[in-house]
């Protein structure tokens, strides 16, 4: 099967026949310039993408300044300045004033501006709408001054034309500044430059981005991380993702002398055995010069390549954001909303679709200042670029809509559609080739492989949310009980005993009946040299309990940790320790402590505490022991656990009367208006 040509290629083919101006007019929409608001956004987006990509290629932490000014209501000036490596003088005209020119067009790696149509389209749009040239300032480190060029595009020939040129002593070692004046409209809010830059800042926490708005307002997204994302490696094209046009281009441009050599060395995943298979299948000779394969024979070669078994494409060329940075980026930008929960971000392992590796990452934030009764905010990213338009047509939105979020604690009418609640979902799809619904690259097209990964990643994030919410509701429940036993019950006893003139009664039994839980309370006390984690286990149940407590901590911390008292048993390589607690009478408590040297990257509140010997419905602050802990429990604990299970089964047998103070029952009907 021959994959269809990309739209870019079709456009490129057409472009030879018509002037670029005409081409632009015809394709305004897919190029992202169909209305004034969008024209500005697309221009900012192309400028910023270029800048961040350039910085990353040169391993520079990006520092991007976006300045927007208003010449008149619909005439907007845009200047994007970066600290990138700069562009050589001779490359400047082609990079900025020639459509479909760019080193990335045939590169097999993940980059933001994937098809190279970007910044020169913005230059052309500016030329066409305001007749003003683009002004480019660029300085490379080796040179002393910056080149300043004013460029327009010759719309007949699709060639850059330098209108004026000069030098400037720029006060920075290297960088590029692009200035355009275009017909556009400036807005804030949804689908605005600010919205776009916020998204960019979230997924690029290593970048510092500053926006200066027309009224002088300066919005700064500070850098949240000084780690550059690992540079995505350029890899050889894999035949599974190869299209006919590209294959022709590769055959023509290769330096290999023979077809066999080309197959083995210029393509990815083709073994010696596969080379032989391809040659036989397509009736090619091993020593044919690659450039001699043309026309119908190219098609035959591609078919053969698609038929023989090949090594799967390597995911090295992907550049995921990574769990750590998703978390940091979200915290950095959303911190002021004080969300109550940042789900551990989910990074799915890379998968392959067609010949192209891809991977899905999901972050989820809940609560705080996020609006509680609106559809959740969805932040979509493709190769680290925010997608702002066509949310409804995007595979990401569909995957979210198709999940039944009610099971995970969000509202969703009928169990499908975008859920509502105080949540924000970030989804990043990284791939060397993302199937967009259109060349405007605003929505990801439906694809069964991508959809499967999206669903798995979303489910994983949603499970974290569910765990959080159920812990929260147990915590609320516990707080309610503690309020009753600590604040209300003693006063009730005091009041009634005063009224009847008798001594205050002993409340132990009532307290344990009301609470009916074993409470495991852990604290984290950070001291200069050590972190102490005292644990208090209280038996707020009406009977004596024999319990076993377990903790799981990072094994490297375990090696340095001190336990008081000494644990009953440990498995240092797994970071596990456990204690058989002394028998606890009703209202009885016991304490233990874990301490380890202060270490910046260990969050002791993340330690997992487990308990055995009691039904989970009667425990606060610890989870039941997971099945994969192959620990031999003492007989007393096993027996206690069995008894607890029996008790739990008997509970709720005698249903109670209507709760007089429950909302429904206390809705006393009144005759008043």
């Amino acid at each position: 099967m021959t994959p269809p040509q990309t739209i870019a290629q079709q456009l490129a083919a057409k472009q030879r026949e018509i002037s670029v101006a005409e081409f632009f007019e015809r394709n305004r929409q897919i190029l992202g310039f169909d209305n004034l608001q969008r024209a500005l956004l697309t221009t900012v987006k192309e400028g910023v993408d270029n800048s961040v990509d350039a910085c990353e290629e040169a391993s520079i932490l990006p520092d991007v300044l976006v300045e927007i000014s208003k010449e008149s209501e619909d005439r907007i000036g845009v200047a994007v300045t970066d600290n990138g490596p700069g562009i050589l003088r001779k490359e400047i005209p082609n990079v900025f004033a020639r459509l479909l020119y760019g080193s990335r067009f045939h590169s097999n790696r993940q980059a933001r501006g994937q098809q190279g149509i970007g910044i020169s389209a913005a230059v052309l749009y500016a030329n066409l709408t305001t007749a003003r040239p683009a002004r480019i300032t660029s300085k490379v480190e080796e040179e002393e001054a910056a080149h300043v060029l004013e460029l327009v595009i010759d719309t007949q020939k699709n060639l850059p034309k330098v209108v004026s040129e000069g030098l400037d002593l720029w006060d920075r070692p290297h960088g590029t500044r692009v200035e355009l004046v275009l017909k556009a409209r400036y807005t804030r809010g949804r689908q605005s430059p600010l919205d776009y830059l916020r998204g960019t800042a979230i997924v690029n926490p290593h970048a510092r981005i500053v926006l200066v708005e027309p009224d002088g307002t300066r919005v700064t997204f500070e850098r949240a991380s000084t780690d550059l994302p690992p540079a995505s490696k350029e890899t050889l094209p894999h035949p599974y993702g190869l299209e006919l046009g590209e294959l022709g281009y590769l055959l023509k441009g290769t330096k290999r002398a023979t077809l066999a050599e080309f197959l083995a060395k210029d393509l990815q995943g083709v073994s010696q055995r596969a080379v032989k298979d391809v040659l036989t299948r397509g009736s090619f000779r091993a020593n044919e010069p690659p450039a001699s394969i043309q026309g119908e024979r190219q098609e035959r070669l591609l078919t053969a390549l698609h038929e023989v078994p090949l090594v799967a494409p390597s995911p090295d060329c992907l550049s995921p954001i990574g769990s750590m940075l998703i978390k940091r980026g979200l915290r950095n930008v959303l911190g002021e909303l004080k969300p109550e929960f940042f789900a551990p971000p989910v990074s799915r392992p890379p998968k392959v679709r067609g010949g192209f590796p891809f991977m899905v990452e999901v972050g989820l934030v809940y609560g705080g200042g996020l609006p509680p009764d609106q559809p959740v905010q969805i932040l979509r990213f493709a190769n680290r670029v925010p997608l702002l338009f066509q949310q409804g047509a995007c595979a990401i939105t569909n995957a979210i809509s198709n999940l039944d979020w009610r099971r995970y604690g969000l509202d969703q009418k009928g169990g499908s559609g975008v859920p509502s609640g105080p949540a924000l979902i970030l989804v990043h799809v990284a791939s060397t080739k993302i199937p967009f619904t259109s060349e405007a690259k605003e929505a990801i097209a439906e694809d069964p492989e991508i959809d499967k990964e999206l669903t798995l990643a979303l489910q994983a994030a949603a499970r974290h949310l569910r765990t959080h919410l159920s812990r929260r509701s147990r915590r609320d429940f516990a707080n309610e009980k503690f309020t009753i036993i600590r604040r209300i019950l003693p006063k009730l006893a005091e009041k009634t005993s005063h009224l009847v003139g008798k001594p205050s009664p002993d409340l132990t039994a009532v307290i344990t009946r009301i609470m009916d839980v074993v409470n495991v309370e852990t604290q984290v006390i950070a001291e200069p040299k050590a972190v102490r984690v005292p644990v208090e286990v209280t038996n707020f149940t009406p009977r004596a309990r024999v319990l076993e407590l377990f903790v799981e901590i990072p094994p490297d911390v375990m090696a340095l940790a001190a336990f008081e008292p000494a644990p009953e048993g440990t498995e240092p390589e797994l970071g596990r320790a456990w204690w058989t607690l002394p028998k606890l009478a009703p209202n009885g408590r016991t304490k233990l402590e874990v301490a380890f040297p202060a270490k910046s990257d260990v969050d002791a509140s993340d330690f997992d505490w487990y308990i055995a010997g009691i039904d989970e419905a009667h425990v606060l602050g610890a989870d039941p022991l997971p099945g994969d802990w192959d620990v031999r429990l003492p007989r007393t604990i096993v027996e206690a656990a069995e008894m607890a299970a029996q008790e739990a089964a008997q509970e709720g047998a005698g249903e109670e009367e209507v709760d007089y103070d429950a909302a429904e029952a206390s809705a006393h009907v009144s005759d008043e208006e």
Binding site: T483, I484, I488, L492, K495, V500, E657, V658, D671
Partner: protein
């Protein structure tokens, strides 16, 4: 606090009326005893109360009123809300007993502010405190006045040939005729209208007309309707206060005067009539004491709006909901009420009683009321 009431006269339904006793506070202490014993036995403290809901009203054939049924709920310290209400109950009981010791009384509003000092147990709204007092009335079969709690003076006015004796704050008994001895505002009802406070001396009136709006009371007074037709006018002031309802009941029972209720023609006015005649849901535990089952609804009825071509308004959404709720309200379960409510729903119209002024200021007294009262065989 008025002196202890020692009621001797008894009507038929008096048997299970809440008795006013010198030991009014004993039942509150019994409640405290109950909870104390539960705590002492290690049980989760709880109380059982009849549910005060529409679904739990049951008709008392003998008295002709709606009272609370048998459905019970539990107020338990197992839940925070229940625990708080229990604690509040005993702050309230303690306060009541303190007042008795100090010979003080308190208005409901004052109680609400008193609770500021109750920390966790303080009331968040006056509704909350009123509901708790009603709970206490139910559990102790006492009136809130027994607990030394009373509403602010309501001042509903009475105009007509009725002579009463009222014992004023100085304890002096004054004889008052509600036509001759009062100003244009009429005689103002105190919150306590029991015998030891107000005694009926005599009346030449033939019936009592209870009126929703002050404007209509004034109209009837100005037109001398009370004199011309030997009527006693009682202003209901919207949903009538307990004292107004108690007063109407006493007029009926002691002076054998028929009571007619004259209100606006809308769903809320139907409820005003229902609480006069059948008892209000909130105070269903006191229906025997407050309701006047023989009271009749005069109007404005849904058919009056049509027959008299009264200026009307469209029913609002809330009005429609209120009417629909009334269709499931056992108090409106009669065929007459059902057809009246359904007619109003069908026509979609409501009218104020003062809309009768469309035909001039005298129309209500010269035409409408005489016609309706003749129809009801009162004139």
């Amino acid at each position: 606090m008025p002196p202890k009431r020692a009621r001797t006269s008894a009507t038929k339904s008096d048997a299970d009326l809440p008795k006013v006793r010198a030991d009014a506070l004993a039942p509150t202490l019994e409640l405290a005893e109950q909870i104390y014993d539960q705590l002492d036995r290690g049980e989760i403290p709880r109380m059982r109360l009849p549910l005060r809901t529409k679904q739990n009203l049951s008709f008392q054939m003998r008295e002709g009123v709606w009272r609370l049924g048998k459905a019970m709920g539990t107020r338990s310290a197992r839940k925070l809300d229940g625990a708080l209400m229990l604690l509040r109950t005993f702050y309230l009981v303690d306060f009541i007993n303190e007042m008795a010791r100090d010979r003080k009384t308190s208005t409901l509003r004052e109680l609400y502010y008193i609770s500021e000092a109750w920390e966790d147990a303080k009331f968040h709204s006056e509704d909350e405190s009123n509901l708790l007092i009603e709970d206490l009335e139910v559990m102790c079969t006492r009136l809130r006045e027994d607990f030394r709690l009373h509403p602010e003076e309501n001042g509903a006015s009475v105009i007509g040939d009725l002579t009463i004796k009222e014992r004023n704050r100085q304890g002096i008994v004054k004889k008052i005729n509600c036509k001759d001895d009062v100003g244009d505002g009429g005689y103002s009802l105190p919150f306590n209208v029991e015998k030891e406070k107000i005694e009926f001396v005599g009346s030449n009136a033939k019936f009592v007309i209870a009126i929703e709006c002050g404007g209509m009371v004034d109209r009837l007074a100005e037109n001398r309707f009370d004199e011309e037709h030997d009527a006693i006018l009682v202003h209901l002031k919207g949903q009538p206060a307990r004292s107004t309802r108690r007063f109407l009941k006493r007029l009926t029972e002691e002076l054998q005067l028929p009571v007619v209720v004259f209100t606006d023609g809308d769903p809320w006015s139907f409820r005003i009539y229902a609480s006069v005649a059948y008892g209000a849901i909130k105070t269903a535990h006191l229906s025997n004491y407050l309701a006047t089952p023989s009271a009749e609804f005069l109007g404005v009825t849904a058919s009056d709006i049509e027959n008299y071509e009264l200026p009307s308004d469209q029913l609002s959404e809330q009005d429609v909901r209120a009417l629909q709720a009334e269709l499931t309200d056992p108090r409106f379960g009669t065929a007459e009420w059902r057809s009246e409510i359904e007619l109003m729903l069908k026509n979609g119209k409501k009218a104020e009683q003062q809309s009768l002024a469309k035909y001039g200021l005298n129309y209500v007294t010269e035409h409408y009321l005489p016609e309706k009262l003749t129809e009801m065989e009162i004139l």
